[in-house]
Every structure is written in structure tokens, then in C-alpha cells.
Amino acid sequence: MTQSTAAQPTPPTTPLQLSATAYGWLGQFRAMASPCEILLGPCDELMARQLCAAAAAEAWRIEAKFSRYRQSSTLSQLNQHTGQWQKLDSETLSLLQFSKQCFELSDGMFDISSGILRKVWKFDGSDNLPSDDAVAALLPFIGFDRVELTADSAFIPAGMELDLGGIAKEYAVDKVGQLLLELSASVEPSLSLVVNFGGDMLAVRPKPNDDPWRIGIEHPGKPDQSAMLVALCAGALATSGDARRFLYKDGVRYSHILNPKTGWPVQDAPRSVTVSAPSCVMAGLLATTALLQGQQAKEFLQAQELKHWVID
């Protein structure tokens, strides 16, 4: 999912549960306001438990570092010290550089500085639209091209606010996938592995004989409906959608997908876009960017030549 709901931060103490499945093991925990699953092929229980514990630890680490809900997070610290050069660790720098590339590739539509619009947009299903003036007043503080990056530091103009909600979860999926790959490489080099954080998922290693993983993902916007089943052999899936977050006024549905250039919702965007790509951050970026294309979403997705699913 792209924008996080105003969910409560997940305490890292959320227990990790491991259960046996018909095929192997399922580890479950919560992170980033999502149910997280680690699916493993057959291996011994201790190893499954250890791998899932490592996965949860990594997910919680990323959440603690990049959550905007935590005052102590690296991201919050960055946002509290705008208007000056700030030293960055290599991981944060990589994420910002990646965000910059995405900003450029998407022609400015994918913008991690656009979260500030939440100050005036409250997607609570009501008809409370912000005034034109209120939106316009925020526009000077949006535009990731105004953030300067060097090899080890960043300058965020005063008043701006960065929000990694659009990529942090996908990033966590990829990092956890990579971690599990490395950890299991020397012990169980062919162990089948899937990482699924609330529908953003990565099949780290396929099942033997290219038997696909069958994974249920929540239908965006229809949480009560039975999950749709996705068959995934290898690679990643990510979904972006407006879920329950919208405003409705005078017969117009205002999606929570905001155009960073105008500060207003993108018109005629699909309800949900799911993209399959080699990595989860890539799938997530493409799904979000597709939504931001509004009516042209399908055209954009077709041009990517990747498997995708669109729900209008």
C-alpha cells in the first residue's frame, strides 16, 4: 500500500508466531501497521524459528528507523532539523537517493515530500474538502528536487517534511528477503522462501519444480471480501490503492492519491493497482506511479511490460 493510514505504531514486542503448514512453516508478526508473514519450505523447526525471528527483527529495525510516527526515528530527526545540512548514514542516504531517482523517473509525480498535504487532507470518508488557499499554501513546501543530496549529507529546505511511507514497507520486504537469502544460503541453499508484508511480497526462492506460491492478498477497498488468490513463482508483488481512504462530495469521489504538483487528488485513478516486478520496491513504485497517472494508469502499466492487475 502506498500511504500509511494513521495507524498506531507497532510495538516491537508484538510476538512472533510460528506454525506448521502443509508445505513448511509460517511465521507471523506485525510491523508497519500490517500483518507480516514469512513462508518457508520444509526445514527444521529451530531454523524456521531463527529465520523468522531474524526477519521480524529486520522489519522492526526498518520501521523504527523510518517511521514518521516515531519521534526518535531517523526520519523524524531529519524532519525536525530542516533548513540545515544533516549527516546521513548510508542506508538513509541510499533511500533518499533512490527516492530522488524515482522522483525524476516519474516526472515529479512520485514525491516523498508530498506527505505534508495530509495537514489539510483528512481522508475520513467525509465531505470536508480543504480550501484552495489551504492547499496552495502548502505547495511551496513540496518538491523533492529542492532537497539537496551529497555523498554523505542532505539539505532539506525549512518547512518541508519527508515521508517514506510510500516505499518503506516495500523496502523492508526486499531487505528481509535478502537477509533470509543470505542466512539460509549456507545451511539450506534451496529453502523456499516468501516474504509477505500486508500484500507487498517477494518470493525469495521458488518452490521446487516451479510450483507457484499461492498467496491470498486482501482486496483493496473490500477488506471483508475473501482474499484474492495470487500465484507467484518468483519475484515481487506490490499493490497501491485508495482502500477506504477517500472523500466524497457532490457526487465526486476524491481519492487519497494526491498529485504533488497541484495538491489535489488525481482524477479517475483506478481503485487499486497490483504490479509484479523483480523487487518489491520496484513493484511498489510502479503501482504508485501508475495510480498517479489517473486515466492513463493502464497505458502506463502496459508500457512497463510487466504483469499487472488493475481494479477500477
Partner: protein, 433 residues
């Protein structure tokens, strides 16, 4: 609002890869492969002893990944050796003349100098191949062969081993065996035991000398077979410490003398009366224990090993070998290397024989099976180049200090250097691609 460039997949894929693979747990950087699935390592070594032999050796090792944990390893070694080597004869207060091993020609050693035979010149080509693959869960097998050929020497061998991972791969047990058959065909033939080195000048005619020389030769060639067994255990001690313990046993049968080495027979004044070709036992049983540690400490990597070897020739040796790698700045490392070696003499090692005493069953004056200690000090500097290619340069100093195993030195021998040190430098360049 519409993207100018619609397809951003390729650019995004590259950016995503950089993001995910870029930091921390960085997987071993993949090399640009010359041939898909193959890894190559090469090294060139130059070895030079002060006043004695020099050698150049080149290795090309290739490892092919055939998927499913199956690998083919190929090794090609070419080396050349030139220069002078100790003959085993003792230094004398006067100049000495020697006949070359071929029987053709002679050379002279100056007074007080250790006799060295300067005819050594040999080129060797060695090929090894092995195949490894899993044969059951947690069980890997390796089988291989080996071929080595030089002018007067041929070695053929086969080997096989099994490695069994257990305890969640924290422990690996292995067992292996190797068989080899070596044939030596020295120029001038194999000298019979304790036949004296002949001098053409002592014979009335060329034909009389040739006849006597031929009679002193037992055969044109001889051979030996070697059987080895190796038992190993590798244990992960902690996340920063790996340990290996090996026990090896080898049995060699056949010709193990050196057809070019002699033992001097001296009189009570220490003056050489004649030089007899050496004779070693035709059987040798060697055993060794080897203990290796790999330890990661504060970002450095220590490789510390100890070997104790003993055999039924009474040679016992201790070897301590340490390499310690210190990573310094971007992709560079510096690795000091220290090695200490100490051995006791074979029971038939005799720096010389006394005139008038009965000949022993076996005798050799080859300092390499005498009492000695040796030290190596070296340093290697290496870097990882673009594309993941490793480049390293190693410079080492090696010194051997043969010592007297407690033999009383009669007359003139007390005043000459009988156990000279051997000093060598080694320069190695290695490159992987």
C-alpha cells in the same frame, strides 16, 4: 501530468538493485565472468635463493559451476627450476672436483665452499582435475586425478573424498584417500647404493670409464607408490571462529633416494676420500596432525595453523603458520605472514661417513632430511578491482638454518661451514578473474 518517458522499468530496476544490494549485508560482489559460470585464479611466483636455485612457477586454476552444487576444478601448473643445489658432499679446505650426474663432464668447487651441482634445469607441467557434487543430503563427494611431468619424472595420481555436514552444517566431517605412482628416469640412470662417484681421469680409457660408470648404475628408472588417507573435522566454534582438525597418514613404497645426492667419506683428518651415492629406505610411513583456525577479530581475519608431522624415518616436525589480514580503506588489505618450521633429522641422516667404518644400511647427507629450523616472513598487499577482480602481491623472505644433529667433526671439517644457511626471497603476483 503524463510521463514523458513512459517505460521507466529498466531505470527503476537498476535503481532498486542499487538500493537493496547497496549496503550492509552486501553479498559477495559478483565478478564480471570471463566465461559464464567459471571463476579463474592465477598466480605467478618467482623464487630465488642466494647463490643457489631460482624457480618460476605459474598457476591457472579454474572452477566451473555446473549448477546444483556441482563443480569442476581444473588446475594447470608450469614451473621451471634452474641453478645450483647442494650435492650432500662436505665442504673441504681444498678445491674439489665432481662428476656430473649424467657421467658427462665435471665441475669444481672452491676451497671452503659447499659443493653445489649447478646442472639443475627442469621444467614441470602439472594438471589436476576434480569433480565435486552432492550425493545425498548433507553429503558431498569429490573425485579427481592428477598428472605431473618433468624431464626425468612422471607422477600420476587419483584421489577421492567425502564430506558430511551435520549439526546444522556447524560440523563437517571428511574422509579422503589418494593414490599416486611416481617414476623417475634420471639422466645417467639410477646409481646403485653407495657406489662411489667415478672420475674419468682415474681410468685408462674412455671405454673403461663408460663400462665402470654403467656398472655403477642399477637401472634406468625406478618408481614409488604412495597411499594417503586424510580424516578431517571442521567445526564452527562461534560466528567468528572456524576450526579444522586433520589427521593424515601416508605410506610410500619404492625408490625414495635422490639419484643426484652423495655422502662424503672422510678420514680422521676430515679429508674426503670418496663420495658415495646415497641410499634411503624403500618405505616411508608419515603421519601428521594439522590444526587450523580462522578467526574474525575486530574486522581483521586471522589464519593460524599448526602441524605436527612424524614418520618412521624419525623425522619429526613442527610448523606454525600465521596469516593475518587487515582490511585498510576502500577494498585494500594488508596481510603479514609468518611461518616457523623445525624438524629433527632422519635416523639415517649422516652429514658424512667415516673411513674404515662399516657402511650403514642407509645414509643420506641431504640437509633437507637433516636437523633444521626455518622461518618465513612475508607480507601480501591486495585489492579488489572494478568488476570484482582480486589483485595481490606478496613478498616473502625464507631462511633455512640446518644444524648439526650432534656429530663430532673430525680435523678439517671443524673449520669449514658444513651446515650453511639457505636464504631465499619469493615474489608472487596473483589475480582472479
Amino acid at each position: 501530468m503524463q510521463l514523458k518517458k513512459l517505460n521507466i522499468t529498466a531505470a527503476l530496476a537498476a535503481a532498486s538493485c542499487a538500493l537493496i544490494a547497496g549496503q550492509s549485508h552486501a553479498e559477495t560482489a559478483k565478478k564480471d565472468a570471463l566465461i559464464e559460470g567459471w571463476e579463474f585464479n592465477s598466480a605467478f611466483l618467482y623464487y630465488k635463493e642466494t647463490d643457489r636455485v631460482q624457480a618460476a612457477e605459474a598457476i591457472l586454476a579454474a572452477r566451473g559451476d555446473f549448477g546444483d552444487d556441482k563443480f569442476l576444478n581444473l588446475n594447470l601448473v608450469v614451473d621451471t627450476l634452474t641453478g645450483a643445489s647442494a650435492t650432500g658432499a662436505v665442504a673441504q679446505p681444498n678445491a674439489q672436483s665432481f662428476t656430473r650426474p649424467s657421467g658427462e663432464g665435471s665441475y669444481t668447487t672452491a676451497a671452503g665452499e659447499t659443493p653445489l651441482d649447478d646442472t639443475f634445469h627442469d621444467t614441470r607441467v602439472q594438471l589436476d582435475a576434480s569433480w565435486e557434487q552432492p550425493i545425498a543430503q548433507n553429503l558431498r563427494a569429490t573425485g579427481g586425478g592428477h598428472f605431473s611431468k618433468e624431464y626425468d619424472y612422471l607422477s600420476l595420481g587419483v584421489n577421492g573424498s567425502l564430506a558430511w555436514d551435520l549439526n546444522n552444517k556447524n560440523t563437517t566431517l571428511s574422509v579422503g584417500t589418494a593414490l599416486s605412482q611416481d617414476t623417475i628416469t634420471p639422466e645417467g640412470g639410477i646409481p646403485s647404493a653407495f657406489t662411489p662417484m667415478l672420475f674419468k681421469n682415474n681410468f685408462g680409457s674412455e671405454s673403461a670409464y663408460e663400462q665402470a660408470f654403467d656398472q655403477s648404475r642399477a637401472d634406468d628408472s625406478d618408481s614409488k607408490t604412495t597411499t594417503e588417507l586424510l580424516f578431517g573435522a571442521t567445526q564452527v566454534i562461534s560466528k567468528d571462529w572456524l576450526m579444522q582438525f586433520n589427521y593424515s597418514w601416508s605410506q610410500a613404497d619404492g625408490y625414495m633416494s635422490d639419484p643426484f645426492k652423495v655422502v662424503s667419506v672422510v678420514n680422521a683428518q676430515g679429508i674426503t676420500q670418496q663420495n658415495l651415492y646415497e641410499q634411503r629406505p624403500e618405505e616411508r610411513n608419515k603421519q601428521s596432525v594439522y590444526w587450523q583456525n580462522k578467526v574474525h577479530m575486530a574486522g581483521t581475519y586471522l589464519d593460524l595453523s599448526y602441524r605436527y608431522m612424524w614418520d618412521d624415518w624419525s623425522v619429526k616436525s613442527h610448523t606454525v603458520d600465521t596469516r593475518w589480514r587487515f582490511p585498510v580503506s576502500n577494498n585494500w588489505y594488508i596481510e603479514p605472514h609468518v611461518r616457523f618450521y623445525q624438524q629433527s633429522a632422519a635416523d639415517f641422516y649422516k652429514p658424512f661417513l667415516m673411513q674404515g667404518q662399516a657402511l650403514p644400511e642407509f645414509a643420506s647427507a641431504d640437509y633437507r632430511i637433516g636437523e633444521m629450523d626455518a622461518q618465513t616472513y612475508g607480507v601480501k598487499v591486495g585489492t579488489v578491482l572494478d568488476g570484482g577482480h582480486d589483485l595481490g602481491v606478496r613478498l616473502e623472505y625464507y631462511q633455512q638454518n640446518p644444524t648439526n644433529p650432534g656429530v663430532e667433526l673430525p680435523g678439517a671439517l671443524a673449520n669449514v661451514e658444513l651446515f650453511p644457511s639457505v636464504k631465499a626471497i619469493m615474489l608472487q603476483v596473483s589475480y582472479s578473474f
